[in-house]
Subunit: 140 residues, 2 copies
DNA sequence: ATCAAATATGCAACTAAGTTGCAAATGTTA
DNA sequence: TAACATTTGCAACTTAGTTGCATATTTGAT
């Protein structure tokens, strides 16, 4: 299982044309184990090895650019990061953030997020849809 | 028209149980004229009178709490603020942010945001849905 | 009108997520 | 293994937003 993960990570990095460095592998493993979007700080605290936060941000940046990691924006000043799953750089699945504990969860297999999420024990108090791209003026 | 706006603002503040101060009125007028979500900095620069940024943030905070203003989260570290329209604290309409000029627009009357927005000249490169509330663990 | 209580304001200093520049270290390719 | 490209770590910086506190303004009761 662990060896499969190593192989998988190695392959992913090779395909992305990224150097196969200790830090990248460690951060990817932490994201694999987290199974939900987590913050830079959470990545740092879950790691045995000390990381400089700049290294974490830059590593995440390269992985995001390669489409391996996704930045899940939450209604906070900090972002949460997760392995890209069922999403591309263009389109992402819905996320849910708990206002009490601050954790962020993915609501991926729900075609009707709000209704379905409520059934799963999530109480939703705020919903938003955000689109990004070029406005008419900037499209020209 | 201007007198109607003054009366309207006065009424809104009274109903919300907020003091009818010069700053609140000025900030509300700026938001009325903006007709789209704008940043704290934009509010500041649109104002003739000098505002301390703390005052702007605290004024916005009180107006948000009263349901008069809405905080539109965008995929940036800064938030944009707008007059609440067709939204409550619980539910908000879709927003669109231009990645080139940084402006944020409301896509309120569109039942199918992506399709309809494309027709209006918006090129969408990223979409996300975000829900907030209590997770199962915190609901108890 | 005016005084007291409640609320709002402005300043200075702070917090924290994320960024930049640069020199040293590590990974890759030939 | 040498040469080149990429990554790393450190220090210093940026910036949206916050906190504490003393002063000013608004309001409601008298």
């Amino acid at each position: 299982m662990n060896e499969n993960l190593d192989t998988h990570i190695y392959k992913m990095l090779t395909e992305a044309g990224l150097y196969h460095t200790e830090n990248r592998v460690l951060i990817l493993k932490i994201l694999f184990n987290a199974r939900k979007p987590i913050s830079q700080e959470a990545i740092s605290s879950k790691s045995v090895k000390h990381f400089d936060k700049v290294t974490i941000y830059r590593t995440l940046e390269s992985l995001i650019k390669a489409g391996i990691v996704h930045k899940a924006f939450i209604n906070k000043r900090a972002s949460h990061y997760e392995l890209a799953h069922r999403c591309t750089t263009k389109q992402c699945h819905p996320h849910f953030t708990c206002t009490k504990c601050g954790s962020t969860h993915c609501l991926v297999d729900l075609s009707m997020p709000m209704a379905a999420a409520n059934h799963k024990g999530f109480t939703i108090t705020h919903q938003q849809v955000h689109l990004e791209g070029l406005c008419p003026a900037c499209s020209q």
